[in-house]
Amino acid sequence: MVQISVMVDGVRHEDDVEPRLLLVHYLRDRLGKTGTPIGCDTSNCGACTVLLDGASVKSCSVLAAQADGTAVTTIQGLSNDGQWHPVQQAFHECHALQCGYCTPGMILASVDLLSRNPDPSDEQIREGLEGNLCRCTGYQNIVEAVRTAGTAMRAGSNGETAATTGVPEGVSA
């Protein structure tokens, strides 16, 4: 067993975990953070994407033990006092989700993308989300949502957003 201390969505958790326990299983099965879903076993789909110290990672590809000492933001910690993050809002307004299973990962990958490139071109958005698969939307409205969120964040809400998500400024890929 490995002892870990990890901040998840603003709450500190101290736990003993098996060395092989994946972060996504720790979140889902131990902490009940089921907002982060699992879509594959080869780290292709990106459904389980979370922010680890502000940078997006596929939580199926990180051991819980590796998350020791970090701050994890899941989709359930992205809102601020019930106020949706601009990316969540844009996904809703642009109909960028249908079944919604890929959505947590897609939103968190988009948050990371916009933190690194606040004004991406459509092509940059598509390339930036290459690691997240959606089977429902054909991606068009996802691209639009990220563009819309970027515009909204640039228009003034990005300072608040960075504080909410723990995204440090200047994080690069």
């Binding site: 099965d29 009940g32 079944c99 919604g100 089977r135 068009q140």
Partner: protein
């Protein structure tokens, strides 16, 4: 009355934001795998690593000793707990439906066939303990190729199914051979509609809990068909149906792959019942690639006759279809669901369709988005393009000469299907304008003349399809066990809000929003005050679930009927309270007014409370403002459209890039344009994926080579272009909403449009066909083969 006044004149047609999204964008979801129950156990299933083998010994005793393991069973241990899994469609008198037990006992018939299982206290312990199960397999020759499977020398997947032939089917409309007489061109093609893996992003999962004392069983399943699961679980186990409750909670995509009653839908409830504890099973993606159905997988031999001046005469289609190792719920009927669609939108004199289903040692096939109709559309739209070339005609002009014109509706096709309405001319004109067709043809000619490395091609697909599955009478005539009606209940609650309970449940289609829009207009109650409930046989007990673009065309009409009954009941109550004759009470936008006395009125919300309190009800009218309805369609609904694709092909590398894609669809009346567009986006993406990227590949021993998501190319955002969409609106005349269905149109239309474009780009180099997916290697080889040498120096 304020609420009513604030309500938009009509919710139908508005781009209302989805009610579904709030939970989905915040992660407050109930996917089946999220469900945690006290004392819950985890099941892991040991699957055969060999495609075809006799099982000579299964020993689970060592697994039982592993840490955390509560139980372990072989197929034989549980054989008395269940019976064969269901197949709901008998497509022919000669159809063979061999036994299909949830866990195999005698033979393993595909890689992935379940042979034993363990139940443990957590998912890691369960997975670990699988290693301790000992199975002796006596390997048999694997039946992999569906043509070789029919040879007398072939091994048999099922010992009592000669030549591995599941069924044969033939239907003749007119005399195809007679159309060859005279000066006609006969065009023959063999198309391969490759095997696909559906890849709903949520893997399948089942959770069950039982109360042994009472026999009650509750099952959560990531399924499109909770009502089917309930009925068939009862039939399979002998448990009383009324003791079983099946819940499809949030379901993360389906595309047909969750339109099934799977082994695990029986195994997990049986374990919960046997062990007296809740049990969960969730497939890993790689496990799902084996254990969840595949789609398509047909050889399509086609012969079309056409006059020299471009009039189609006859169409003969011979299908050979890979069933896989067993028949799942709808396996044999999938190719035949498209049986009426092969003639497409064209006027043939004769049509013959034959189909044979073949067993192989592979994962069973079943419904995948479009289910038989994409396969049919691929054939007709591919060969229409090829025939146009052979005639030296523009593919659009050739289609124009042969399609059903606007003035000819309603039109009964050669295959006997009535198309109620359509406007192929308008959709095509719009699509041509959006694509800038003439300009692209000019550019194409210039590039050809220059001998550019990158060539462009234009592909056409003027598709149609049948939606709104299905008239019960037709289902009965074709050998299906159940009906195709759908049910809805509408209740206006004492507080003035309304709930709509329906028998179809979504996995991304936006039922909660679309149905609330419908009900809002019918009831005059604000959209925000209406919620829709589904997916639980406890609260929505009557229904036939979601598939075949049926939810709006069938269930939508049931909602409308139920809501109209509510309004009629409310009118009676209003007349009573306003002391007027019901015939003098008018209803508009949620208000009942006495004709000629507009100040004398009651809102539907007031009447709901009056009917709830029931202090003063009219004679013969029962309390509570609610009504039920069941709608059984008389006929199918028939959407159509024109999809055009412009593809760039690098003749040196074989790489294909879609430059533009235009979809002009006619899905009848549109309830929510944003949701409809979303369905088209995703549908087109899936069809493009078949054309360019995806294929389930088996080796000669029956191993799934494309066995993980790393080996199977589900397209990501950079792999797909933006889509250009538009619509024409020709209301359906066969249902009271005028709707047609949109869930599958994009997938049905897009595959041939893309392949036609790719071939059009390199046809001048001598290429006449490229097998799907049109990967760079296949395109490059096609060019190379056509030229008889390495093209452009690339090697």
């Amino acid at each position: 009355m304020t609420e009513v006044a604030d309500r938009p004149a009509a919710a139908v047609g508005q781009p209302m934001l989805r009610k579904e999204d709030a939970r989905l964008v915040t992660g407050e979801t109930t996917w089946t795998d999220n469900i945690q129950l006290p004392g819950m156990l985890y099941c892991a299933i040991l699957r055969s690593p060999i495609a075809h083998a006799r099982i000579t010994r299964v020993d689970v005793s060592a697994a039982k000793e592993r840490p955390g393991v509560v139980a372990a069973f072989s197929g034989a241990d549980l054989a008395d707990s269940w019976s064969t899994l269901p197949t709901a469609w008998t497509v022919s008198a000669d159809m063979k439906s061999p036994p299909h037990l949830p866990l195999a006992t005698d033979k393993a018939r595909y890689v992935g066939d379940g042979v034993a299982l363990v139940v443990a206290t957590d998912r890691y312990a369960a997975a670990d303990a699988l290693d301790a199960i000992e199975v002796d397999y006596d390997p048999l020759p694997a039946v992999v190729d569906m043509t070789a499977a029919q040879q007398d020398a072939s091994a048999l997947v099922h010992d009592d199914v000669p030549n591995n032939r599941c069924f044969t089917y033939r239907e003749d409309w007119g005399d195809h051979e007679a159309t060859k007489q005279g000066d006609v061109l006969t065009i023959s093609r063999r198309f391969i509609n490759q095997r696909l893996i559906p890849n709903a992003i949520e893997p399948r999962s089942v959770v069950a809990t039982a109360i042994p004392a009472t026999g009650e069983v509750t099952v959560w399943s990531a399924t499109q068909v909770p009502h089917f699961v309930r009925i068939f679980l009862s039939l399979n186990t002998g448990w009383p149906e009324q003791k079983i409750r099946v819940i499809a909670p949030d379901v993360g995509g389906g595309f047909g792959s969750k339109l099934d009653v799977y082994a695990e839908d029986v195994i997990i409830p049986v374990l919960a019942h046997k062990l007296g504890r809740p049990v969960k099973w969730t497939e890993s993606r790689s496990e799902g690639y084996l254990a969840t159905i595949h789609g398509r997988d047909l050889i399509q031999d086609v012969e079309m006759t056409v006059t020299r001046d471009g009039v189609v005469k006859g169409l003969k289609v011979d299908l050979t279809v890979d069933m896989g190792a067993y028949l799942q719920l709808l396996t044999p009927c999938i190719p035949l669901l498209g049986r009426y669609m092969y003639p497409g939108i064209y006027k043939f004199e004769a049509h013959t369709l034959t189909c044979q289903g073949i067993f192989t040692n592979k994962t069973p096939t079943d419904a995948y988005r479009g289910a038989g109709r994409p396969e049919a559309t691929f054939v007709i739209e591919r060969i229409m393009d090829d025939a146009a070339v052979e005639l030296g005609m523009d593919p659009i002009e050739f289609r124009r000469r042969n399609w059903i014109t606007k003035s000819e509706f309603p039109y009964t096709t050669i295959a006997g299907l009535e198309y109620d309405s359509g406007d192929y001319e308008a959709a095509t004109e719009r699509a041509l304008a959006l694509l800038e067709y003439d300009k692209l043809r000019t550019e194409q000619a210039e590039r050809r003349q220059r001998g550019d490395t990158v060539q462009i091609g234009i592909g056409t697909s003027t598709y149609t399809e049948m939606c709104g599955l299905a008239p019960s009478r037709w289902l009965g005539e074709t050998g299906y066990v159940a009906g195709g009606w759908e049910a809805a209940s509408v209740r206006v609650l004492p507080t003035g809000r309304a709930e709509v309970v329906v028998g179809t449940s979504p996995h991304g289609q936006s039922h909660a929003t679309t149905f609330a829009q419908l009900a809002s207009d019918e009831l005059g109650i604000p959209f925000d005050d209406i919620d829709v409930f589904y997916g639980d046989t406890g609260s929505a007990p009557i229904g036939l679930d979601t598939y075949g673009s049926r939810s709006l065309a069938v269930c939508g009409v049931a909602i409308q009927k139920a809501a109209q009954r509510v309004v009629e009941k409310a009118r009676q109550v209003a007349a009573h309270l306003l002391e007027a004759d019901a015939g003098d009470v008018e209803f508009e936008s949620g208000a009942f007014r006495v004709r000629g006395a507009p100040e004398s009125q009651k809102s539907i919300q007031e009447l709901a409370f009056a009917a709830f309190s029931a202090h003063s009800m009219p004679e013969g009218v029962e309390p509570v403002l609610s009504a039920d309805a069941v709608h059984d369609p008389d006929v199918f609904s028939i959407p159509h459209g024109t999809h055009l694709c412009a593809a760039e092909v690098d003749t040196e590398t074989g790489a294909v890039k879609l430059r533009s894609y235009v979809a002009v669809d006619d899905v009848g009346v549109v309830v929510n344009p944003v949701i409809v567009d979303g369905q088209v986006h995703g549908g087109v993406a899936q069809g493009v994926a078949q054309a360019l990227y995806e294929e389930a590949v088996y080796d000669d021993d029956g191993n799934l080579v494309s066995g993980t998501m790393a080996d199977y190319l589900v397209p990501a955002a950079p792999d797909l272009p933006p889509w250009t969409l538009d619509r024409t609106v020709t209301p359906s005349t066969t249902n009271s909403l005028g709707v047609k269905g949109v869930g599958e149109t994009g997938t049905i239309a897009s595959t041939p449009a893309v392949v036609n474009a790719v071939i059009d780009a390199v046809r001048h180099l001598g290429v006449t066909d490229i097998r799907m997916p049109c990967s760079p290697e296949r395109v490059w080889r096609a060019i190379k083969d056509a030229r008889g040498a390495t093209p452009g120096g690339a090697a």
